[in-house]
Amino acid sequence: MKLSLTKLCRAFGSHRALDGLSLECEATGSLVLIGPSGGGKSTLLRVLAGLERPDSGTVEINGKPLVFEELPLLQHRRRTGVVFQGFNLFPHLSALENITLPLTAVHGHPPEKAAAIGLDFLRRFQLESHAAQKPAALSGGQRQRVAIARALAIDPQFLLLDEPTSALDPVMTAEVLEAIEALRAQGRDFILATHEMGFARRVADQIAFIAEGRLVEIGPPEQLFGESAAPQTREFLARVLRY
């Protein structure tokens, strides 16, 4: 995946969530966004997901500019898998139906084929015995894996994951991180925002440190976790890695 962002701005009232963020990254499988809360990671992911329109600036994904108008955005959302912090499964649908809804309603698969795809993905995440259960009957880790399966089942061009483990306890976090690691092993492109620094280091091809709505630096994990990192990055990492 190739990503090119120039001078992205997005303000909510007086708060500048993105304040002229520019970022270039070539041929990256997994890009991990780190940085303080409120620094712009989520807003950036929402812009990339086509859920938020920037006030100014441009986004280019794999050489194609993202056009922030209703129809192209709809097309873009349909090719993009998004996993939210709060799972956001549909409570009135079973685990399997949550996965098949986009397949049948958006991608035009016949119901039998959608169910086969859905079951296949549930199996991959060891969830096939929960296919008929509603989200309320699943644990947090199971819900988040269903959400990942839903995002993957449409065969997206890439996956966006916004702090997918921050609402989970350590055991469930491990379940979900394993699932994400498997994505990387399969060569699936994704952009992940996380506070799990150890995991970021292990799973990232490139790490971007984002603070105050701007990119501070981007580079391979060795660079950001090493001695040559920018002072702001080192200060942040020193603070979050202390305990």
Binding site: R77, R78, F84, L101, V106, K134
Partner: protein, 268 residues
């Protein structure tokens, strides 16, 4: 209280405190108790009031009752359908991006909800229906009731739509659903569940409100009962029949919506 007595009471008259589930014996005993007490009270009150039944006089007019009841059923059912459509349309119009449509819907809802049905019936029948030369009273009745009930239903539907959380809409957007698909697959199923109890209440009210249509000369159920009462001087019998006739319509609605609530039940 002694322990055997307490356990007997809990066996026949109490649901499980934790689950709310009750045994068959407990349900039947409790129902029999409530039914028995109500009948006994009614009987005692009637005895004390010295009322004499006269069903024969009223019975002679059973055809009048039946035709009135039929009219009420027909008008109510038609108005139920039409008001649901109107209510849904008004609820959507209130959320429209096109402002004139939104304001029109708001005006309609506030005007109708803020004025008595009786006034609306007079105005809509003697001015509006007259102006467009609509003479069929039953049809006019259906339209008037729908205009009235649609305004209430619009608010019920709006509350239902707004009860669906922002994160759900976001999720629907993210998977690439269009606006119409979002309503169909995400909002409607979740909204329906939360509006069913108020929907049932509104439907029941609609059926009872149809009795006011007698003021435009529609021979519906209440009008028939009133007529029979004045022919026979058997007020009490006529109005008791009237109550039973309305219950026959309203109870099934309550039961049906309870069933639907069970069907749509899921935890959040």
């Amino acid at each position: 209280m002694s322990r055997p007595a307490a356990s007997l009471l809990s066996r026949f008259f109490f649901a499980q405190p934790a689950t709310g589930a009750a045994s068959g014996a407990a349900r039947w005993c409790s129902a029999a108790l409530v039914g028995g007490v109500l009948v006994a009270c009614g009987w005692v009150l009637l005895r004390c009031s010295g009322l004499r039944w006269d069903w024969e006089a009223v019975g002679a007019y059973w055809q009048l009752f039946l035709s009135g009841w039929r009219t009420t059923v027909g008008v109510s059912l038609a108005a139920l359908l039409l008001s649901t459509l109107l209510g849904a349309g008004l609820a959507l119009a209130q959320r429209s991006d096109f402002l004139p449509l939104r304001y029109l819907a708001k005006c309609w809802i506030e005007l109708i909800r803020g004025t008595p049905l009786l006034v609306q019936i007079y105005v809509l029948f003697y001015i509006v229906a007259d102006a467009v030369q609509l003479e069929n009273r039953a049809l006019a009745g259906v339209l008037i009731l729908s205009v009235f009930s649609g305004a209430y239903l619009a608010e019920v539907f709006r509350a239902g739509i707004e009860s669906v959380g922002r994160s759900q809409l976001e999720s629907a957007l993210a998977i690439g659903l269009t606006r119409a698909q979002t309503y169909r697959h995400v909002i409607l199923p979740q909204a329906l569940r939360s509006v069913l109890p108020s929907l049932a209440g509104q439907f029941v009210s609609l059926i009872k409100d149809s009795s006011l249509l007698s003021v435009i000369g529609l021979n519906e159920f209440t009008q028939s009962a009133r007529n029979v009462a004045s022919y026979t001087y058997s007020n009490f019998e006529s109005y008791l029949l009237l109550a039973v006739g309305y219950l026959l319509l309203t109870l099934p609605i309550s039961i049906w919506t309870r069933r639907m609530e069970q069907r749509f039940r899921y935890e959040t």
